[in-house]
């Protein structure tokens, strides 16, 4: 096994599944997922030497994947394509309660992804790494090449923004709103 094979085994092989899933969880479209994944791999290829020397290479690779996926999501949101391509089923099998629930869930998902797509790059990367991939703050800071406190700020601002955008999906917020009314 040569040096490069060893590097691949150490850096990419352990997180292959995680990389694929991280992109899919954000993009949710087979073609776009493939494009985003390909884009992420290209970035990894370009920064290979840097990744090899990085103190937390796995976090960095994951961050690259999330960044690439978020880029696709942002483009989609900007084009207003989300709803047409999103998971709102075109055919509803019957008018039973479960079908209505399906439509409702799809709309809620679309709202969540639209909200994520409207976040800034740093906020999106920070909160997706922290909340979805459950990467510790210090590892996110290393991957984003900034201080931990900065990551926390990004996460806090992202939460604030999402809380406003997704207020209808958060039970406590709904409760508060109702009590104010």
């Amino acid at each position: 096994m040569n040096d490069r094979q060893q590097e691949y085994q150490a850096l990419i092989a352990p997180i292959e599944d995680r990389m694929m899933r991280a992109v899919w969880r954000i993009v949710r479209d087979p073609d776009d997922t493939e494009d985003a994944f390909q884009e992420a791999l290209l970035t990894v290829w370009k920064r290979w030497d840097r990744i090899c020397a990085h103190p937390n290479p796995h976090a960095l690779v994951l961050q690259i994947c999330i960044h690439s996926a978020h880029d696709v999501l942002r483009r989609r949101v900007r084009r207003g394509r989300w709803m047409e391509a999103a998971a709102v089923p075109e055919e509803i099998p019957d008018a039973a309660a479960s079908a209505i629930q399906n439509v409702s869930a799809a709309e809620q998902n679309a709202a969540v992804f639209r909200a994520i797509g409207s976040l800034s790059k740093n906020q999106a990367r920070a909160i997706l790494m922290h909340a979805v991939e459950e990467v510790p703050y210090n590892a996110i800071a290393a991957a984003m090449d900034c201080r931990e406190s900065t990551v926390r700020k990004h996460v806090a601002r992202a939460r604030t923004k999402l809380r406003v955008l997704l207020s209808q999906l958060i039970p406590t917020v709904q409760k508060e709103e109702r009590s104010h009314a």
């Binding site: 899919w24 290979w48 809620q108």
Partner: protein
Amino acid sequence: MRDEIDELLRSRTDGELPADVEDRLRRRLLEFRTKVEQRRPSRLRAFTYYVLSPPATRVAVMTAVLLVGLAVGLVLLPRGSRAGQVFAAAAAQLRNSQSLEYTIVLNEQPYVGVDFSYLAPGYRRIHCSWGIEIRTDGTTGKQIVLMPAAHAYLNESGKTVESQSNIDDFSAQLRSLPNQADDFLGEHWTGQQKLVGYRLSKAPPNGSIPNLKMLDMWIDPATREVHHVDITVQEPGKPEHQMHIRNIFVGRTPDRALFDLTPPAGYRPLVVPNANSSSALPAAPTALRAEIRQTDELVAVVVPMKGPYAQTAAALSSVQAYLKLEAITPVGPPLGRYWSEERWETGYPVQPGTQVEAPFQVVSLPAGLTAVVVVNGPWVKDTEARWGAFLKSIVEQGYVPSGPTMEIWSGEDGQATQSTEMRIPVTKAN
């Protein structure tokens, strides 16, 4: 406790990766893996990232880079820029000046130099260390060549004298400098005076220094006047030669008497070949063309002399008598070397190793590049005219005298077979 937004994001983004999508992504991964495994390692890039990766190192490196950038930006670049302004100002002074004086040292040892004075609109005076002075009035096209050693002068009207051209070129060179030098040489202290240096790698327009390698100008930044110039010439197949321009005065009005075309008292007119035949001056000797060649070393017994050259015959007789007394046989015809009437000597060539007593001396005449011409006829006829024509021929061939004049007299005294070999050490003029 987890934040509800985090929970919401996690729950809404959760989901299994469909098998067909996973297949497509795995194919991409496989391609990527192949590419990575075939990738050529870049140790330099890896090392750079390794060094820059720790934040502490990166901060230190970035600070150092910033400091270097600041140093270049705030200190070095403005200094070069200010220095460039100094050069431009000095060049402008030379270009616009109404008068200019300087000395060109063609050779340090033996000293060969030319003093040059210029006054607008066209007055020039060139004083050569080898005994020629040329005064030119550009407004009338008149020129006078003075030869102090021979107390003779030559009038030329509306003609270009070849010997002057090189010096004019130097003058034109200094007066047509570009506004920007090729290199900045830094600072140099001469005693208490600070000088800044500039290099021109090619001759400025209007000038012509053949085989010029570099022209270094040293300028006083306070006055923006050129202090001195070092010129390096590299002729093919020869060692480098250095010349210098010193005593440079820009804008100082020279003594107008320097440009006076009236022959000084005690000087006689001189006739050279091709001169106006209608002149009432004595007939010129036949055209003399100096031959420039290497001569061998010569050892001679001489008697040092001072005073009029007319004592030559008497001095030579004393040497002859001494040699006869000491049974020393001369190995060639008699000779004389003349610096001035304050210093000259005459004697006979002898074998090396010969010993003599005072006042006689054994001298060694070094080998070297010498201008030589042999003139048939009486030894003492038309001496000044011969030397005038000889010196003119040397200068016309691009050489300048670099030592004392010398004559070797062959033939018998009082006979028609007499001939004189005239010699003078020379160097190539630039």
